[in-house]
Symmetry: C2
Subunit: 333 residues, 2 copies
């Protein structure tokens, strides 16, 4: 095994976020399930957007947010995801490259526009997402650069990749290349409804060892094991994966591995503004800890710190230097 | 004179903002004058954007920000400005209409893309703008809807309109229609460098009575009268315009009129994040006060309140209900 060129390679749906602060009534009137991610078609996207208030736009996408967080912390990071060669695709490409991420996936020259998520942020800071996959659906296994995967210490995949038709194949191909090169593969379960859609497939990936690390929040964990009891679910997770990291919002996180179970508290915040990207940035901090050889506790603290930064402003990309924040808080960078 | 259908009609350069937080060194390395607005061509726009970090995007444009603030406060507001019918133009059109603003200017079907401003926000909250006018340059007097101008109690114009070649004519046409219908015309001086470019023309507009109200910040006022003495400049302003409103950042504002001079303090803030839109939102609050028949002092307080909201987050559009904020602070809405 040669030295890794990249610390983490992320593969995911490249999605541009259109964010608006709204009230709870909006979600009710439009039949939206609060806190979830609903897939919408173009017609519904137009209808949702027309009913939305004035918005802020920002590049997003779950794995992409994680990868940008990693680069912001100082990791060597790369990303694979599909945009269209349109104005929004160019904004997207700028943002991820400007963050220091290697991003070489060829933009689609035709077909649907760059994917967008219409994100409603309620006064409690909770986000509800309506995602039009657009060009993200065009990601295929041909977009997986084998040399890049083999050269990455971790390949980080999002559960959302199970939604677009051809991305599963890309996902499985990447995992096989990574393991063939002696690298590790991480998966975030993405969303409890996503777990509902693909529960058996995700469990199969875990149990067959296609995945080495699992990131999940409580709702996703409960959905995965169809239980409302946290300890029961955690015990099962520990059996099914070498390393499982469960985020619990203001209760911090729990890390389960062959070494045992470690709980890490949340990082204190002044005011929760927008939870968009909380899980993504937690994963960034945690993976960064692993990359730097930190123990699970310090990795969890780095995750908590990165998540705390992103929930105190609108949008899922960091607005401060996470590296400086970590240094100020005595965490390893 | 019939009752006005709109409280305020704004006419300006329709510009989409691409905002990034950066350090002072960036401005120095790229030869940018801190706090100003520099006009850039497409080649320079590409170079500036390539050197910028990951950004947040949001609709902007000085007069448009003011008009959105007015609508947010509850005024009947309309806007005239030119975008292209591209993805960014559609985001722009959505945002201004979703704010409750009547916006009917036909998007350009060809020619340059929707205008963009690349905005660098330094740690002190100051913003430095690099504006590519794009489709905004296509605004002509044919875009001025005479009935709409005649039906607006105030027509609000931005000094930046003096930059694109054909917009001056649109500006002058709108002012003539407004006065013909017995309405009032307001102008913001926009930027001290803009005043430098068009000093004599602006003074001429004021002295000929094309303009009834002038909004300026201290730097613009000093540039207009080419003096570093505030009181000297203010005395001249009082001679040249019926109503002059000068914003002074943390020192609040001064309103000069035939009734005398009134000073109003700034509104207290927790933390200055981004001054983009501070003057625009001040104008929104002040004009809203005039529309509601408030005195100059309360109009100034409304301006200070709206400015305080917008400088505490990234971007020049309000993220809270200014109407609720005003009510909470006992101001007339």
């Amino acid at each position: 095994m040669t030295a890794a060129k990249y610390d983490v390679l992320g593969i995911g749906n490249a999605i541009f976020d259109i964010l608006v602060q709204t009230d709870e009534g909006f979600l009710v009137r439009h039949g939206m399930t609060k806190g979830g991610m609903a897939l919408i078609d173009e017609e519904r996207a137009i209808a949702v957007y027309q009913s939305m208030g004035p918005a802020t736009e920002m590049s997003g996408g779950s794995a992409a947010n994680t990868i940008v967080g990693l680069a912001n912390l100082g990791a060597r990071a790369a990303y694979i995801g599909k945009v269209r060669d349109d104005q929004i695709g160019r904004l997207y490409t700028h943002d991820i490259r400007a963050a220091g991420v290697t991003f070489e996936t060829k933009a689609a020259a035709d077909g649907p526009a760059t994917g967008c998520s219409y994100i409603l942020v309620t006064p409690d800071g909770q986000r509800t997402m309506n995602t039009y996959l657009g060009a993200a659906q065009e990601l295929t296994s041909a977009d997986i650069d084998a040399a890049q995967v083999a050269a990455s210490a971790f390949t980080y995949l999002e559960g959302y990749l199970w939604d677009p038709k051809n991305a599963k194949e890309a996902f499985v191909k990447a995992a096989a290349i990574a393991h063939g090169a002696g690298r590790q593969v991480a998966l975030t379960l993405s969303d409890s409804f996503c777990v509902d859609r693909y529960r058996d497939e995700f469990l199969d990936l875990m149990r067959k060892g296609t995945i080495d690390l699992i990131f999940a929040n409580e709702a996703e964990l409960h959905s995965l094991y169809q239980t409302s009891d946290f300890d029961t679910a955690l015990t099962q997770l520990r059996e099914d994966t070498k390393l499982g990291i469960v985020t619990r919002s203001e209760k911090g996180c729990v890390v389960t591995s062959t070494d045992g179970v470690v709980a890490v508290p949340a990082f204190p915040i002044d005011r929760m503004v927008d939870t968009t990207g909380a899980g993504d940035l937690f994963a960034a901090g945690f993976l960064f800890g692993l990359v730097r050889g930190a123990g699970h506790e310090n990795a969890g603290r780095l995750g908590a710190l990165a998540a705390a930064e992103v929930i105190q402003h609108i949008g899922a990309r960091p607005q401060a230097s996470l590296k400086e924040l970590a240094q100020q808080n005595g965490l390893p960078v």
